[in-house]
């Protein structure tokens, strides 16, 4: 059964885009794309993925080549989406497509499933904002805060999650988003400090900062480098460094401004 080469390469590109855009490693992205192509009958697929773009060329038995390039913009952390795409591709691989082509998922259906995943929102927005507050509050407790500081850090986390969502609508770069986020953390903590007595700001601000730390970029940088993708490994490491510098710059300048104002 001969399938349309353009259709398959579109599907592979969509799989790659979903994984890369929600913060997956490039190694996994390449693996997923080639295995989708192999299942649909194109075993000689080459792909090259960097954190900002995907290159894929699908080759069929008559040596017709379809090459596509996709630029990836607007990355955000969405671990749920990575897991769903991973699950879908694994299910496709296990369905014995090569032996019995009629049993496996049609490419059009597969594409529709991918679009469903793209639009899938498992939690309403207020739950996620509340969880941002919880994360910030419990990190405050973890680093030695009291219960009163927990409550303040909880509200700081909620406010920061909410404003970060508004900021991300403006589509700024990563450095500026994290600098603004850290500045927000310090501002809200200082504002709440004026009304709530008997709290120390350090643990609250650290709890807020833990919402922004580049854990994902760091992990991906190391895992990419170890699997041989030097380009994306270096790129992610620089991203992690820039995020940290952004956090330090944002929180530092805001602390200085508050101390100049005399609080």
């Amino acid at each position: 059964m001969i399938r349309d080469i353009r259709e398959i390469s579109d599907i592979a590109l969509e799989v790659g885009r979903l994984i890369l855009q929600s913060g997956g490693t490039t190694n996994r992205c390449e693996k997923m794309m080639t295995s989708v192509c192999r299942v649909y009958g194109f075993p000689n697929t080459q792909s090259f993925v960097t954190p900002t773009g995907i290159f894929i060329s699908v080759i069929d038995a008559d040596l017709n080549i379809s090459t596509q390039i996709k630029r990836i913009e607007g990355r955000y952390i969405d671990l749920g989406k990575i897991s769903l795409v991973n699950e879908l591709v694994n299910k496709l691989e296990k369905s014995h497509c090569q032996e019995d082509p009629s049993s496996c998922l049609k490419p059009a259906d597969f594409m529709k499933r991918l679009q469903d995943i793209d639009n899938y929102r498992p939690y309403p927005e207020w739950v996620r904002t509340l969880c941002g507050g919880g994360t910030s509050g419990f990190f405050c407790l973890l680093f030695g805060g009291s219960w009163l500081e927990f409550i303040v850090a909880f509200f700081v986390g909620i406010l920061v999650s909410f404003t970060m969502r508004l900021i991300s609508l403006l589509k700024m770069n990563n450095f500026l988003i994290n600098a603004l986020g850290a500045a927000m953390v310090v501002t809200f903590a200082k504002l709440l400090d004026i009304w709530v007595p008997f709290i120390k700001l350090d643990n609250i601000i650290i709890g807020g900062i833990m919402l922004l730390v580049p854990g994902l970029s760091m992990t991906n940088a190391i895992r990419d480098t170890m699997s041989g993708d030097l380009v994306s490994g270096t790129a992610r490491a620089v991203e992690a460094l820039m995020i940290s510098v952004g956090i330090a710059a944002g929180s530092g300048s805001m602390l200085k401004i508050w101390s100049l104002l005399g609080y």
């Binding site: 498992p122 994360t135 910030s136 419990f138 973890l142 190391i222 929180s251 530092g252």
Partner: protein, 150 residues
Amino acid sequence: MRPFDTLTLMQFMWAFLSIIGFSIRTNLRGWRVLFTGLGGGLAWALYLIILYYSNSLLFSIFGATLLVCIYSELTARRIGIPVSVVVICSIIPLVPGSGLYYCMRAYLAGDMAEASLWITKTLMIAGTIAIGIAVVSSVTNLVNRVLNRF
């Protein structure tokens, strides 16, 4: 503080709950958040326990990262999510966000010696976490290749 007392248990609970919050915030759904939360809690508890026995900050970070990465490699396939997702959630408590803040605060107070102390500590912790992840992921690649060969 002795290891395995209620304080360690409470610290474990707080890391657990905060990582569950982080997982839900990044759209991970269903009962899987329990496993990523457990990873985060384990990372922090192991860090505290190893710190008590070895009295070395970097060694305890390294040990905790190593064990937690092994935990992620073992569980991730069973619960059907990529390994990197579990690793990302698990190491968040160890990432030195506090060092970054203390460094900035010391710098603003004009205390350069303290600031450089903190920034060195931060960079070293980050590097140690990196080495831990690197060791486990390359050993896993090797083990998988050997298992596939035979």
